[in-house]
Amino acid sequence: MYRYDEFDQQLVNERVEQFRGQVARRLSGELEEDEFKPLRLMNGLYLQLHAYMLRVAIPYGTLSSKQMRMLAHIARKYDRDYGHFTTRQNIQYNWPKLGDVPDILKDLATVEMHAIQTSGNCIRNVTSDQYAGVAADEIEDPRIASEIIRQWSTLHPEFSFLPRKFKIAVTGSPHDRAAIKVHDIGLIIVRNDKGEVGFEVYVGGGQGRTPMVGPRIREFLPKNELLAYLEAILRVYNELGRRDNLYKARIKILVHQTGAEKFAQMVEDEFAKIDKTGELNLPNDEIERITAYFADPAYKELPTISADFQAKKSEDPAFAAWVANNVAEHKVPGYAIVNISLKPIGGIPGDASADQMDAIADLMQKYSMDEIRVTHEQNLTLPYVEQGDLYDLWQSLKAHDLATANISQITDIIACPGLDYCNLANARSIPLAQEISERFGTGERADAIGELKIKISGCINACGHHHVGHIGILGVDKKGVEFYQITLGGSADENASLGDIVGPAFTEDKVIDAIETIVDTYLDKKQDGEKFLETYRRVGLAPFKETLYAAG
């Protein structure tokens, strides 16, 4: 893992004290809310429906057990004993008091964490693949580029007041688990014909009111030129992005209106002006210095398949089901990647109690070389588990209600906080996720349905990623009543696509039945081995429309 150097630590410590002063001046009246609001937002502090909400950055989703314990401590000491892991691989606290926030930030700083750039029109926390460093198909660990981007973008003076927020995601595998094509900039680490490693660059993807799959503007960017090229993109955007209209201010609108080819050329023109040997050049020794932080841990030499693990799987079907759904192949023989579902049946997607966080921290130490990743699908991933430990780990997870065997199944739902917490929401999201989860559960039926990603947003801002859900649900308000619009066929992976609206929206009491009708239609139409998305792409919207609306 990356460790703060003296500059990182000093910057974060100073920021805490700056914010302490700002809060004091707000409470004493020296600062008006109009003056204070941008300052609190730059420190991740929002005002939501019931209280303030603090969003804490988890760079590329990676945490140590010490950091996880601190997150639990904050939940206990300053909040209501829980936290909410988000689609931005961050954590949010829903009930902090304004006067406590400087102390929370001070506590976070002791474990190299902060809430800087988790809000506001700046470059936000960089997100990445939760399987970074352990995926078998990975070309290079995306955390290296992510950390370099984090350092470059932190308090970047030129990009602290962009037209709108800006999100960058990086993947090192051809199979995209980081939804890079729906980010302002998406980077895929690739190898060119000469065997050199560099980046394929996508720009102008995004969700919200105007969803777009980002077009590719560079097929191969040499590693050393990463920052110069990102800076060129940001400069074009900073100059030409629409500051006159909030709804047209994201880079996706600029790219779309300019045309991807012309936009790419503008970036190349700007890039040509940058001195590649100057401060934006990434020297090899600096890349190597950062790379060293993410070197492989001391793996043991283990048999490819643990006999004990195999035996346990045959003895215990519940364990076998959990392994089948939640455990992924590791690049090192004898090891496994373990996904901890934060989607218990009927639970709130992404929520974890302080006790669960502490329990997870213990398990990270005991079984996963002290490390965990937060995923953009609101789950957690233990990256370094020995196969021989899987059974014991599973039993410990079960004891803390963390062993739901449903990764990528119909109950592994992304849901934004919705109208239960959020000031912007038009409708509730979480109750729908809970009802769907209870309707389908785990076991035979869920297994027969197979991979099916449902994503729910409570408003058009699409924090719940509904546009890229295999089934997407968008909550809308019609004269004070919650309605839900369904889209089908979205995807956030390497074959990213936006969902198609199936028809008129459903009321709350009809929407769960509608989801079941969609599932039944899929099961009826599916051919051997076909997943939901494959069936949808083959048969299209028509059969679903028919079964959903025929009776009406």
């Binding site: 409470l27 429906l49 009930w95 304004l98 709130i348 109208l419 409708a427 979480i430 109750p431």
Partner: protein, 108 residues
């Protein structure tokens, strides 16, 4: 009989708590204690009174919202205000509803 009325709500500056302007001009934590007005001019007056508290650093963003008074109990018209008055519908142990379950909760 149901009577349409309005009340003024805001979030308290120091902790974000949802509060309501009461008849004495104080900010109460419970909707039950709120002052309800049925007249447009009165509503405007109430809002102006609330806005003064922004300068006094007590609350943020006061605004008027609609309720229906039924048998002496105020029921927020919009789901959003219903949730603000009670707490998250998915965590009945949190928010105002955790302390003392209020009658208008049954309205949804």
């Amino acid at each position: 009989m149901a009577t349409p009325a309005q009340a003024v709500t805001a979030n308290r500056l120091n902790d974000g708590e949802v509060v309501y302007l009461d008849a004495a001009g104080n900010w109460a934590e419970s909707l039950d204690e709120s002052k309800f007005v049925t007249d447009k001019a009165e509503a405007q007056q109430l809002l102006e009174q609330g806005e003064k508290s922004v300068d006094d650093r007590v609350v943020l963003d006061p605004y008027l919202f609609d309720v229906t008074i039924e048998n002496g109990v105020a029921i927020p018209v919009k789901k959003r205000e219903h949730i603000r008055a009670n707490g998250p519908t998915v965590r009945l142990d949190l928010g105002k509803q955790a302390a003392e379950p209020v009658e208008f909760k049954k309205a949804s």
